[in-house]
Homo-oligomer: 243 residues x 2
Protein backbone atom coordinates (compact mmCIF):
# COMPACT_ATOMS: atom_id res chain seq x y z
CA UNK A 1 0.00 0.00 0.00
CA UNK A 2 1.38 3.35 -1.00
CA UNK A 3 1.95 5.92 1.65
CA UNK A 4 3.36 9.23 2.67
CA UNK A 5 7.03 9.97 3.00
CA UNK A 6 8.29 10.58 6.49
CA UNK A 7 9.65 13.86 5.25
CA UNK A 8 6.04 15.01 5.23
CA UNK A 9 5.85 14.87 9.02
CA UNK A 10 5.42 18.32 10.47
CA UNK A 11 7.77 17.38 13.25
CA UNK A 12 10.40 15.71 11.11
CA UNK A 13 13.19 17.92 12.33
CA UNK A 14 12.46 16.84 15.84
CA UNK A 15 12.12 13.18 15.35
CA UNK A 16 13.37 11.27 18.31
CA UNK A 17 13.69 7.54 18.39
CA UNK A 18 11.64 6.77 21.43
CA UNK A 19 12.02 3.20 22.60
CA UNK A 20 8.87 1.73 24.03
CA UNK A 21 8.76 -0.50 27.04
CA UNK A 22 9.04 -3.90 25.43
CA UNK A 23 5.58 -5.33 25.12
CA UNK A 24 3.95 -2.18 26.39
CA UNK A 25 2.14 -1.88 23.13
CA UNK A 26 1.72 -4.55 20.52
CA UNK A 27 4.04 -2.68 18.24
CA UNK A 28 6.98 -3.73 16.22
CA UNK A 29 9.37 -0.90 16.05
CA UNK A 30 12.18 -0.18 13.73
CA UNK A 31 14.52 1.86 15.86
CA UNK A 32 16.77 2.67 13.00
CA UNK A 33 14.11 4.58 11.15
CA UNK A 34 12.14 6.13 14.00
CA UNK A 35 9.17 4.43 12.46
CA UNK A 36 6.75 2.00 13.94
CA UNK A 37 4.53 -0.69 12.51
CA UNK A 38 1.15 -1.53 13.98
CA UNK A 39 -0.79 -4.67 13.13
CA UNK A 40 -4.48 -4.61 12.30
CA UNK A 41 -6.71 -4.27 15.37
CA UNK A 42 -3.95 -2.64 17.38
CA UNK A 43 -5.04 0.27 19.55
CA UNK A 44 -2.63 3.12 18.84
CA UNK A 45 -4.09 5.58 21.30
CA UNK A 46 -6.63 4.80 23.95
CA UNK A 47 -9.29 7.05 25.39
CA UNK A 48 -8.29 8.27 28.81
CA UNK A 49 -4.66 7.47 28.30
CA UNK A 50 -1.96 10.02 28.78
CA UNK A 51 -0.05 8.90 25.73
CA UNK A 52 3.37 10.47 25.41
CA UNK A 53 3.53 9.74 21.70
CA UNK A 54 2.43 11.63 18.67
CA UNK A 55 2.22 9.95 15.28
CA UNK A 56 2.18 10.80 11.65
CA UNK A 57 0.56 8.12 9.54
CA UNK A 58 2.89 7.01 6.79
CA UNK A 59 0.76 4.21 5.39
CA UNK A 60 -2.24 2.11 6.29
CA UNK A 61 -5.62 3.11 7.65
CA UNK A 62 -7.52 3.15 10.90
CA UNK A 63 -10.38 4.71 12.80
CA UNK A 64 -10.76 7.25 15.57
CA UNK A 65 -13.71 6.28 17.70
CA UNK A 66 -15.39 6.71 21.01
CA UNK A 67 -17.49 4.20 22.91
CA UNK A 68 -20.48 5.27 24.98
CA UNK A 69 -21.56 3.83 28.30
CA UNK A 70 -24.43 2.12 26.55
CA UNK A 71 -21.97 0.23 24.37
CA UNK A 72 -22.62 2.11 21.17
CA UNK A 73 -19.59 3.16 19.19
CA UNK A 74 -19.17 6.28 17.11
CA UNK A 75 -16.39 6.44 14.56
CA UNK A 76 -15.30 10.06 14.64
CA UNK A 77 -13.18 9.91 11.53
CA UNK A 78 -11.24 7.56 9.33
CA UNK A 79 -7.49 7.78 9.70
CA UNK A 80 -5.63 7.89 6.40
CA UNK A 81 -1.99 8.37 5.41
CA UNK A 82 -0.77 11.85 6.16
CA UNK A 83 -2.95 12.27 9.22
CA UNK A 84 -1.46 13.47 12.45
CA UNK A 85 -2.47 11.62 15.61
CA UNK A 86 -2.31 12.52 19.25
CA UNK A 87 -2.33 16.30 19.10
CA UNK A 88 -5.24 16.24 21.49
CA UNK A 89 -3.35 14.28 24.11
CA UNK A 90 -0.23 16.25 23.35
CA UNK A 91 -1.93 19.48 24.16
CA UNK A 92 -4.80 18.51 26.48
CA UNK A 93 -2.95 15.87 28.41
CA UNK A 94 -5.34 13.05 27.71
CA UNK A 95 -6.90 11.36 24.72
CA UNK A 96 -10.66 11.70 24.60
CA UNK A 97 -11.12 9.06 21.96
CA UNK A 98 -9.30 5.95 20.81
CA UNK A 99 -7.46 5.24 17.59
CA UNK A 100 -7.26 1.74 16.21
CA UNK A 101 -5.42 0.38 13.20
CA UNK A 102 -7.65 -1.27 10.62
CA UNK A 103 -4.89 -2.40 8.31
CA UNK A 104 -1.22 -2.73 9.08
CA UNK A 105 0.08 0.79 9.58
CA UNK A 106 3.43 2.48 9.43
CA UNK A 107 3.82 5.47 11.69
CA UNK A 108 6.36 8.15 12.40
CA UNK A 109 6.75 8.62 16.14
CA UNK A 110 7.41 11.72 18.22
CA UNK A 111 7.43 12.53 21.86
CA UNK A 112 5.24 15.10 23.45
CA UNK A 113 8.15 17.22 24.54
CA UNK A 114 9.11 17.60 20.92
CA UNK A 115 5.89 19.46 20.39
CA UNK A 116 6.79 22.29 22.68
CA UNK A 117 10.33 22.48 21.38
CA UNK A 118 8.85 22.74 17.93
CA UNK A 119 6.80 25.78 18.88
CA UNK A 120 9.88 27.42 20.32
CA UNK A 121 12.32 26.72 17.56
CA UNK A 122 10.34 26.21 14.38
CA UNK A 123 7.42 28.60 14.10
CA UNK A 124 6.81 27.64 10.49
CA UNK A 125 6.43 24.01 11.50
CA UNK A 126 4.22 24.95 14.41
CA UNK A 127 2.09 26.89 11.98
CA UNK A 128 1.90 23.83 9.75
CA UNK A 129 0.65 21.87 12.70
CA UNK A 130 -2.03 24.43 13.41
CA UNK A 131 -2.95 24.24 9.75
CA UNK A 132 -3.37 20.48 10.02
CA UNK A 133 -5.52 21.04 13.07
CA UNK A 134 -7.72 23.50 11.21
CA UNK A 135 -8.15 21.03 8.35
CA UNK A 136 -9.17 18.36 10.80
CA UNK A 137 -11.54 20.73 12.54
CA UNK A 138 -13.09 21.56 9.20
CA UNK A 139 -13.64 17.88 8.45
CA UNK A 140 -15.29 17.35 11.82
CA UNK A 141 -17.56 20.30 11.15
CA UNK A 142 -18.62 18.79 7.85
CA UNK A 143 -19.24 15.49 9.58
CA UNK A 144 -21.54 17.22 12.04
CA UNK A 145 -23.46 18.73 9.15
CA UNK A 146 -23.76 15.29 7.60
CA UNK A 147 -24.98 13.53 10.73
CA UNK A 148 -27.36 16.34 11.52
CA UNK A 149 -28.94 17.08 8.17
CA UNK A 150 -28.44 14.33 5.63
CA UNK A 151 -30.39 11.10 5.21
CA UNK A 152 -28.78 7.69 4.87
CA UNK A 153 -28.21 7.84 1.11
CA UNK A 154 -26.75 11.31 1.30
CA UNK A 155 -24.51 10.38 4.21
CA UNK A 156 -23.00 7.44 2.40
CA UNK A 157 -22.60 9.37 -0.84
CA UNK A 158 -20.91 12.16 1.09
CA UNK A 159 -18.59 9.78 2.91
CA UNK A 160 -17.66 7.90 -0.24
CA UNK A 161 -16.90 11.07 -2.10
CA UNK A 162 -14.81 12.54 0.69
CA UNK A 163 -12.88 9.32 1.25
CA UNK A 164 -12.30 8.97 -2.46
CA UNK A 165 -10.87 12.46 -2.66
CA UNK A 166 -8.73 12.12 0.42
CA UNK A 167 -7.32 8.80 -0.70
CA UNK A 168 -6.62 10.01 -4.21
CA UNK A 169 -4.90 13.06 -2.75
CA UNK A 170 -2.34 10.85 -1.02
CA UNK A 171 -1.76 8.87 -4.18
CA UNK A 172 -3.83 5.80 -3.45
CA UNK A 173 -6.03 4.05 -6.00
CA UNK A 174 -6.72 5.28 -9.49
CA UNK A 175 -9.37 7.46 -11.13
CA UNK A 176 -11.85 4.58 -11.05
CA UNK A 177 -11.51 3.54 -7.46
CA UNK A 178 -9.59 3.48 -4.21
CA UNK A 179 -8.73 0.94 -1.51
CA UNK A 180 -11.19 1.10 1.38
CA UNK A 181 -10.39 -1.68 3.81
CA UNK A 182 -13.12 -1.00 6.38
CA UNK A 183 -16.19 -3.01 7.35
CA UNK A 184 -19.76 -1.96 6.74
CA UNK A 185 -20.04 -1.74 10.51
CA UNK A 186 -17.28 0.89 10.56
CA UNK A 187 -19.09 3.01 8.01
CA UNK A 188 -22.36 2.56 9.86
CA UNK A 189 -20.72 3.66 13.10
CA UNK A 190 -19.16 6.64 11.36
CA UNK A 191 -22.45 7.82 9.88
CA UNK A 192 -24.71 7.14 12.83
CA UNK A 193 -26.66 4.46 10.98
CA UNK A 194 -27.46 0.88 11.85
CA UNK A 195 -25.54 -1.85 10.10
CA UNK A 196 -28.70 -3.17 8.47
CA UNK A 197 -29.79 0.16 7.10
CA UNK A 198 -26.28 0.88 5.88
CA UNK A 199 -26.17 -2.43 4.09
CA UNK A 200 -29.47 -1.84 2.33
CA UNK A 201 -28.53 1.68 1.32
CA UNK A 202 -25.20 0.42 0.01
CA UNK A 203 -27.08 -2.11 -2.05
CA UNK A 204 -29.26 0.56 -3.55
CA UNK A 205 -26.27 2.75 -4.45
CA UNK A 206 -24.61 -0.21 -6.12
CA UNK A 207 -27.77 -1.21 -7.98
CA UNK A 208 -28.05 2.34 -9.25
CA UNK A 209 -24.51 2.00 -10.53
CA UNK A 210 -23.29 4.90 -8.45
CA UNK A 211 -20.83 3.26 -6.08
CA UNK A 212 -19.65 -0.28 -5.66
CA UNK A 213 -17.80 -1.15 -2.48
CA UNK A 214 -16.67 -4.72 -2.12
CA UNK A 215 -13.65 -6.67 -1.09
CA UNK A 216 -11.97 -3.58 0.30
CA UNK A 217 -12.20 -1.50 -2.82
CA UNK A 218 -14.50 1.41 -3.55
CA UNK A 219 -15.36 2.13 -7.18
CA UNK A 220 -17.15 5.27 -8.21
CA UNK A 221 -18.75 5.48 -11.63
CA UNK A 222 -19.00 9.24 -11.53
CA UNK A 223 -17.58 11.02 -8.48
CA UNK A 224 -19.30 14.26 -9.41
CA UNK A 225 -22.70 12.58 -9.51
CA UNK A 226 -22.06 11.06 -6.11
CA UNK A 227 -21.03 14.43 -4.74
CA UNK A 228 -24.34 15.80 -5.96
CA UNK A 229 -26.28 13.07 -4.19
CA UNK A 230 -24.35 13.73 -1.00
CA UNK A 231 -24.82 17.48 -1.28
CA UNK A 232 -21.08 17.75 -0.93
CA UNK A 233 -19.68 21.17 -0.32
CA UNK A 234 -16.86 21.63 -2.78
CA UNK A 235 -13.79 23.22 -1.39
CA UNK A 236 -10.14 22.42 -1.67
CA UNK A 237 -8.27 23.56 1.36
CA UNK A 238 -5.06 25.16 0.26
CA UNK A 239 -2.06 25.97 2.29
CA UNK A 240 -2.43 29.59 3.21
CA UNK A 241 0.70 31.58 2.43
CA UNK A 242 2.18 32.95 5.59
CA UNK A 243 1.16 36.58 5.85
Amino acid sequence: MAGVSCSACPLRRFRIFTPFTPGELAFQQDFKSGELTADPRTTLLMEGSNAPQLFTVLSGMGVRYKTLENGRRQVISFVLPGDFLGLQAGVMGEMRHSVEATTRMRLCVFRREDLWRLFQAQPARAYDLTWLGAIEEHLLGETIVTLGQRDATQRIAWAFYKLFRRLRAVGLGDPRGVPLPFRQQDLADALGLSLVHTNKTLKRLAAAGQAVWSRGRLELADPAALAAIGLVDHHRPERRPLV
Copy 2:
Protein backbone atom coordinates in the same frame (compact mmCIF):
# COMPACT_ATOMS: atom_id res chain seq x y z
CA MET B 1 -24.19 40.20 30.56
CA ALA B 2 -20.91 39.23 32.11
CA GLY B 3 -18.00 38.40 29.91
CA VAL B 4 -14.37 37.72 29.51
CA SER B 5 -11.62 40.25 29.88
CA CYS B 6 -9.76 41.19 26.75
CA SER B 7 -6.60 40.23 28.51
CA ALA B 8 -7.72 36.66 27.99
CA CYS B 9 -7.23 36.95 24.25
CA PRO B 10 -4.44 34.70 23.09
CA LEU B 11 -3.34 37.39 20.70
CA ARG B 12 -3.56 40.31 23.07
CA ARG B 13 0.03 41.33 22.64
CA PHE B 14 -0.60 41.70 18.96
CA ARG B 15 -3.81 43.56 19.05
CA ILE B 16 -4.09 45.99 16.22
CA PHE B 17 -6.92 48.46 15.86
CA THR B 18 -8.13 47.62 12.43
CA PRO B 19 -10.58 50.16 11.08
CA PHE B 20 -13.33 48.68 8.97
CA THR B 21 -14.65 50.25 5.84
CA PRO B 22 -17.56 52.29 7.20
CA GLY B 23 -20.75 50.36 6.62
CA GLU B 24 -18.92 47.32 5.34
CA LEU B 25 -20.27 45.34 8.22
CA ALA B 26 -23.12 46.25 10.48
CA PHE B 27 -20.69 46.77 13.29
CA GLN B 28 -20.26 49.55 15.75
CA GLN B 29 -16.66 49.77 16.64
CA ASP B 30 -14.87 51.32 19.50
CA PHE B 31 -11.53 52.24 18.03
CA LYS B 32 -10.11 53.28 21.30
CA SER B 33 -10.36 49.83 22.78
CA GLY B 34 -9.71 47.63 19.74
CA GLU B 35 -13.03 46.10 20.53
CA LEU B 36 -16.05 45.74 18.39
CA THR B 37 -19.74 45.41 19.11
CA ALA B 38 -22.06 43.35 16.96
CA ASP B 39 -25.83 43.60 17.11
CA PRO B 40 -28.04 40.53 17.24
CA ARG B 41 -28.46 38.84 13.84
CA THR B 42 -25.21 40.27 12.57
CA THR B 43 -23.10 37.89 10.54
CA LEU B 44 -19.59 38.05 11.95
CA LEU B 45 -17.99 35.67 9.50
CA MET B 46 -19.55 34.36 6.35
CA GLU B 47 -19.00 31.03 4.66
CA GLY B 48 -16.82 31.43 1.62
CA SER B 49 -15.49 34.77 2.74
CA ASN B 50 -11.83 35.48 3.03
CA ALA B 51 -12.22 37.38 6.25
CA PRO B 52 -9.07 39.16 7.36
CA GLN B 53 -10.26 39.36 10.95
CA LEU B 54 -9.95 37.05 13.88
CA PHE B 55 -12.03 37.55 17.00
CA THR B 56 -12.05 36.65 20.62
CA VAL B 57 -15.52 36.74 22.12
CA LEU B 58 -15.61 38.99 25.15
CA SER B 59 -19.33 38.83 25.84
CA GLY B 60 -22.55 37.76 24.18
CA MET B 61 -23.41 34.59 22.31
CA GLY B 62 -23.85 33.37 18.79
CA VAL B 63 -23.87 30.32 16.55
CA ARG B 64 -21.54 28.79 14.02
CA TYR B 65 -23.59 27.19 11.27
CA LYS B 66 -23.57 25.92 7.76
CA THR B 67 -26.42 25.93 5.28
CA LEU B 68 -26.88 23.10 2.80
CA GLU B 69 -28.02 23.40 -0.79
CA ASN B 70 -31.36 21.93 0.23
CA GLY B 71 -31.88 24.82 2.62
CA ARG B 72 -31.35 22.88 5.82
CA ARG B 73 -29.15 24.48 8.43
CA GLN B 74 -26.81 22.77 10.84
CA VAL B 75 -25.57 24.66 13.86
CA ILE B 76 -22.03 23.39 14.33
CA SER B 77 -21.55 24.88 17.76
CA PHE B 78 -22.74 27.62 20.04
CA VAL B 79 -20.35 30.52 20.42
CA LEU B 80 -19.83 31.63 24.00
CA PRO B 81 -17.57 34.17 25.71
CA GLY B 82 -13.93 33.14 25.53
CA ASP B 83 -14.27 31.45 22.16
CA PHE B 84 -11.84 32.25 19.41
CA LEU B 85 -13.30 32.83 15.95
CA GLY B 86 -11.81 32.79 12.50
CA LEU B 87 -8.82 30.52 12.99
CA GLN B 88 -10.08 28.47 10.11
CA ALA B 89 -10.07 31.38 7.72
CA GLY B 90 -6.86 32.63 9.24
CA VAL B 91 -5.10 29.45 8.44
CA MET B 92 -7.07 27.95 5.54
CA GLY B 93 -7.77 31.18 3.74
CA GLU B 94 -11.51 30.86 3.70
CA MET B 95 -14.31 30.32 6.16
CA ARG B 96 -16.22 27.11 5.61
CA HIS B 97 -19.07 28.04 7.86
CA SER B 98 -20.76 31.22 9.03
CA VAL B 99 -20.87 32.80 12.46
CA GLU B 100 -23.83 34.90 13.52
CA ALA B 101 -24.43 36.88 16.67
CA THR B 102 -27.51 35.84 18.62
CA THR B 103 -27.26 38.51 21.29
CA ARG B 104 -25.31 41.69 21.18
CA MET B 105 -21.64 40.71 21.28
CA ARG B 106 -18.41 42.37 22.22
CA LEU B 107 -15.37 41.12 20.36
CA CYS B 108 -11.66 41.65 20.42
CA VAL B 109 -10.35 42.05 16.88
CA PHE B 110 -7.11 40.94 15.27
CA ARG B 111 -5.77 40.81 11.79
CA ARG B 112 -4.67 37.68 10.05
CA GLU B 113 -1.11 38.88 9.72
CA ASP B 114 -0.93 39.05 13.49
CA LEU B 115 -1.38 35.31 13.57
CA TRP B 116 1.84 34.58 11.76
CA ARG B 117 3.74 37.18 13.72
CA LEU B 118 2.47 35.51 16.85
CA PHE B 119 3.91 32.17 15.81
CA GLN B 120 7.25 33.81 15.15
CA ALA B 121 7.56 35.89 18.24
CA GLN B 122 5.42 34.28 20.93
CA PRO B 123 5.63 30.51 20.88
CA ALA B 124 3.82 30.24 24.19
CA ARG B 125 0.88 32.19 22.79
CA ALA B 126 0.94 30.14 19.61
CA TYR B 127 0.81 27.06 21.77
CA ASP B 128 -2.16 28.51 23.63
CA LEU B 129 -3.89 28.95 20.32
CA THR B 130 -3.25 25.35 19.38
CA TRP B 131 -4.59 24.38 22.76
CA LEU B 132 -7.79 26.30 22.07
CA GLY B 133 -8.00 24.53 18.74
CA ALA B 134 -7.64 21.14 20.40
CA ILE B 135 -10.39 21.99 22.87
CA GLU B 136 -12.66 22.99 20.04
CA GLU B 137 -11.80 19.85 18.12
CA HIS B 138 -12.65 17.81 21.17
CA LEU B 139 -16.03 19.47 21.45
CA LEU B 140 -16.75 18.80 17.80
CA GLY B 141 -15.83 15.16 18.30
CA GLU B 142 -18.25 14.89 21.18
CA THR B 143 -20.92 16.52 19.07
CA ILE B 144 -20.38 13.89 16.39
CA VAL B 145 -20.82 11.18 19.00
CA THR B 146 -24.03 12.84 20.13
CA LEU B 147 -25.54 13.20 16.69
CA GLY B 148 -24.51 9.70 15.74
CA GLN B 149 -25.47 7.68 18.79
CA ARG B 150 -27.85 9.49 21.11
CA ASP B 151 -31.62 9.80 20.85
CA ALA B 152 -33.50 13.08 21.16
CA THR B 153 -33.76 13.11 24.95
CA GLN B 154 -30.11 12.23 25.38
CA ARG B 155 -29.03 14.84 22.87
CA ILE B 156 -30.86 17.62 24.62
CA ALA B 157 -29.70 16.49 28.04
CA TRP B 158 -26.15 16.37 26.75
CA ALA B 159 -26.38 19.81 25.16
CA PHE B 160 -27.95 21.37 28.23
CA TYR B 161 -25.33 19.94 30.52
CA LYS B 162 -22.44 20.99 28.32
CA LEU B 163 -23.81 24.48 27.81
CA PHE B 164 -24.46 24.81 31.52
CA ARG B 165 -20.88 23.86 32.31
CA ARG B 166 -19.36 26.07 29.67
CA LEU B 167 -21.43 29.05 30.71
CA ARG B 168 -20.72 28.55 34.39
CA ALA B 169 -17.03 28.27 33.57
CA VAL B 170 -17.02 31.79 32.16
CA GLY B 171 -18.85 33.11 35.17
CA LEU B 172 -22.35 33.37 33.76
CA GLY B 173 -25.48 32.41 35.68
CA ASP B 174 -25.56 30.79 39.07
CA PRO B 175 -25.65 27.23 40.39
CA ARG B 176 -29.34 26.98 39.57
CA GLY B 177 -29.30 28.18 36.00
CA VAL B 178 -27.64 30.08 33.20
CA PRO B 179 -28.65 32.51 30.48
CA LEU B 180 -29.37 30.72 27.21
CA PRO B 181 -30.68 33.25 24.71
CA PHE B 182 -31.21 30.91 21.76
CA ARG B 183 -34.37 29.75 20.05
CA GLN B 184 -35.68 26.22 20.07
CA GLN B 185 -34.96 26.20 16.35
CA ASP B 186 -31.29 26.84 17.07
CA LEU B 187 -31.09 23.91 19.43
CA ALA B 188 -32.97 21.72 16.96
CA ASP B 189 -30.54 22.68 14.21
CA ALA B 190 -27.60 22.00 16.50
CA LEU B 191 -28.80 18.55 17.44
CA GLY B 192 -30.09 17.42 14.07
CA LEU B 193 -33.69 17.26 15.27
CA SER B 194 -36.85 18.78 13.90
CA LEU B 195 -38.27 21.78 15.69
CA VAL B 196 -41.45 19.88 16.55
CA HIS B 197 -39.67 16.93 18.07
CA THR B 198 -37.32 19.22 19.95
CA ASN B 199 -40.24 21.11 21.39
CA LYS B 200 -41.99 17.97 22.57
CA THR B 201 -38.84 16.55 24.08
CA LEU B 202 -38.19 19.82 25.90
CA LYS B 203 -41.69 19.63 27.25
CA ARG B 204 -41.06 16.16 28.59
CA LEU B 205 -37.79 17.18 30.24
CA ALA B 206 -39.53 20.11 31.88
CA ALA B 207 -42.48 17.99 33.03
CA ALA B 208 -40.04 15.54 34.56
CA GLY B 209 -38.53 18.47 36.42
CA GLN B 210 -35.11 17.90 34.92
CA ALA B 211 -34.58 21.05 32.90
CA VAL B 212 -36.65 24.14 32.34
CA TRP B 213 -35.68 26.43 29.50
CA SER B 214 -37.83 29.47 29.04
CA ARG B 215 -37.44 33.15 28.42
CA GLY B 216 -33.75 32.78 27.66
CA ARG B 217 -32.83 31.08 30.88
CA LEU B 218 -31.97 27.44 31.43
CA GLU B 219 -32.57 25.99 34.89
CA LEU B 220 -31.28 22.59 35.86
CA ALA B 221 -32.68 20.87 38.94
CA ASP B 222 -29.78 18.44 39.16
CA PRO B 223 -26.97 18.83 36.62
CA ALA B 224 -25.52 15.43 37.52
CA ALA B 225 -28.83 13.69 36.82
CA LEU B 226 -29.04 15.44 33.46
CA ALA B 227 -25.51 14.38 32.64
CA ALA B 228 -26.52 10.81 33.34
CA ILE B 229 -29.48 11.05 31.00
CA GLY B 230 -27.26 12.48 28.29
CA LEU B 231 -24.56 9.86 28.85
CA VAL B 232 -22.15 12.74 29.22
CA ASP B 233 -18.51 11.90 29.21
CA HIS B 234 -17.00 13.67 32.18
CA HIS B 235 -13.71 15.30 31.57
CA ARG B 236 -12.32 18.67 32.44
CA PRO B 237 -9.78 19.80 29.94
CA GLU B 238 -6.90 21.34 31.78
CA ARG B 239 -4.14 23.45 30.45
CA ARG B 240 -1.27 21.12 29.83
CA PRO B 241 1.98 22.36 31.35
CA LEU B 242 4.52 22.99 28.67
CA VAL B 243 6.86 20.03 28.62
